[in-house]
Amino acid sequence: MRAAQKGDTEALDQLLRRHHDKVWGICRRLAGNDADALDATQEALIAVATRLNRFDGKSRFTTWLYRVTTNACLDELRRRARQPLVGLDAAFESVDLSAPPVDGLVADRLLIDAALARLPEEFRVAVVLRDLLDLDYAEISEILDIPPGTVRSRIARGRAALANFLRPGNQTDLSERQNL
């Protein structure tokens, strides 16, 4: 990591390569679709690479990495949300509620993806950091710069909202959107 900070491009490549899957995972879950997640991941990788010399070692590297990644992904997604052809619609459209349940598991996952994309940002980030990366409240608190109690509350409320959405009959507004 120090070599990468000093400008060793090969070391930087290895460092980014080692963490690429995590960066992608965060951005993919936050974006809700592959297309937006690809661009967000690219932005996050650039942010990590260009800000690496600012990492002072006061926190764990992964904590710093997840913070930079989360912020870069969200910035990119906010920017893209102001443009046409936003991916969130694609996520909704991928869930055909009128289709027969060929594979319940796949359908559930698509539903969860669609629901996650609609979860307000502050809750979505907390849930993703907890469930995808298995981070504890303290580390999420450090990444998001909010108190651990707030982290716990956001995760519980976010997860409850997702669970509520999965209940039969609670996706009616989604169906209405598809009929527009």
């Binding site: 400008g7 491009t9 090969e10 930087l12 490549d13 980014l16 390569r17 690429h20 992608w24 993919r28 879950r29 297309a35 997640a37 690809l38 661009d39 991941t41 690219q42 932005e43 990788l45 650039i46 690479a49 260009t50 690496l52 990119e76 443009q83 046409p84 052809l85 969130l88 619609d89 909704f92 559930d108 996952r109 969860i112 629901a115 994309a117 609609r118 979860l119 307000p120 849930v127 993703v128 469930d131 995808l132 298995d134 509350s153 995760i155 519980a156 409320r157 976010g158 997860r159 409850a160 909202a161 997702l162 669970a163 509520n164 959405f165 999965l166 209940r167 507004d173 959107r177 527009l180």
Partner: protein, 275 residues
């Protein structure tokens, strides 16, 4: 056009049931000896959500990963993997794969020959040109022949054939900003709406004014940049920092390309335009 997605309704407070279910799912508490059906159902729902979210999403393409890494690595030096195109619509997986493979090959060659640090020229990895290289950008567009030729050559060398790799816009803008030394940077994306309106108005009025060779681009080059055969072009009047200016809009049947006439590398492609 996109509608604003409606946010999920998030409970204002965590209910006792949800709190208990969350604790069980988190492993902080165990199921009571005689759990209610309601609790069991809630725990199952929470488990379902957690099980899905904890599964790491699989990155779609290994070659694409290498391209992303190469772009990120190059962003810290004085050389960049030149991005000239922003993907807006669904791209062909094959085209992206080919482009990624080409980029990977070039990056591998440059890594083995130490191009990242040596500063020598390379097709895919271009050293940012010095401001003097493009001093002519201060001239009027019509008189900036030398600049246009130089930039067009640069663009040709930097372009990958067909679809370029997916590259973030920020890097493209940074690159173009350097070329536009001494002039305020033209954020073409901010004219997206106006250009899109022209796109539709043009179809309604069929009033075209085709430039013979806008920005020094040949017809083939325009086709390459636009991703389809050009259908026409217009000068779009815009206001930049209080000054009236014009940007070039090249129309296709489905896409349009915005070009800064003072920096022909500063381009913004809008693909698959739908009302």
């Amino acid at each position: 056009m996109t509608m604003e997605p409606k946010d999920l309704s998030v409970p204002a407070e965590v209910s006792a049931l949800d709190d208990q279910a969350a604790s069980i799912v988190e492993g902080l508490a165990s199921l009571p000896l005689s759990p209610s059906a309601e609790l069991l159902a809630r725990v199952e729902e929470f488990h379902q959500v957690r099980a899905h979210l904890s599964a790491a999403p699989v990155f779609p393409d290994a070659l694409l990963r290498d391209t992303q890494l190469a772009v990120a690595v190059s962003s810290v030096g004085d050389q960049v993997v030149v991005p000239l195109r922003k993907r807006r619509g669904p791209s062909s997986v094959v085209a992206v794969g080919i482009a990624a493979a080409a980029a990977l090959l070039l990056v591998a060659v440059s890594l083995t020959s130490g191009v990242f640090e040596s500063g020598s020229d390379d097709v895919a990895l271009e050293a940012l040109p010095s401001p003097t290289t493009f001093a002519a950008v201060d001239q009027e567009a019509s008189g900036a022949t030398e600049s246009v030729e130089t930039q067009a050559t640069f663009a040709t060398e930097a372009d990958f054939s067909g679809d370029a790799p997916i590259v973030p816009e920020s890097l493209a803008l940074k690159h173009s900003a350097d070329l536009r030394d001494g002039l305020p940077f033209l954020d073409l994306q901010s004219f997206e709406e106006a250009a899109t309106e022209r796109f539709f108005a043009r179809h309604e009025t069929a009033a075209l004014s085709h430039e013979d060779s806008p920005c020094g681009f040949s017809l083939a080059k325009q086709q390459e940049l636009l991703g389809e055969l050009p259908d026409g072009s217009e000068w779009l009047p815009v206001e930049v920092e209080g000054h009236q200016q014009e940007v070039l809009v090249i129309f296709g049947h489905f896409n349009l390309l915005l070009v800064d006439p003072f920096d022909c590398l500063n381009r913004f492609l809008i693909e698959v335009i739908v009302p």
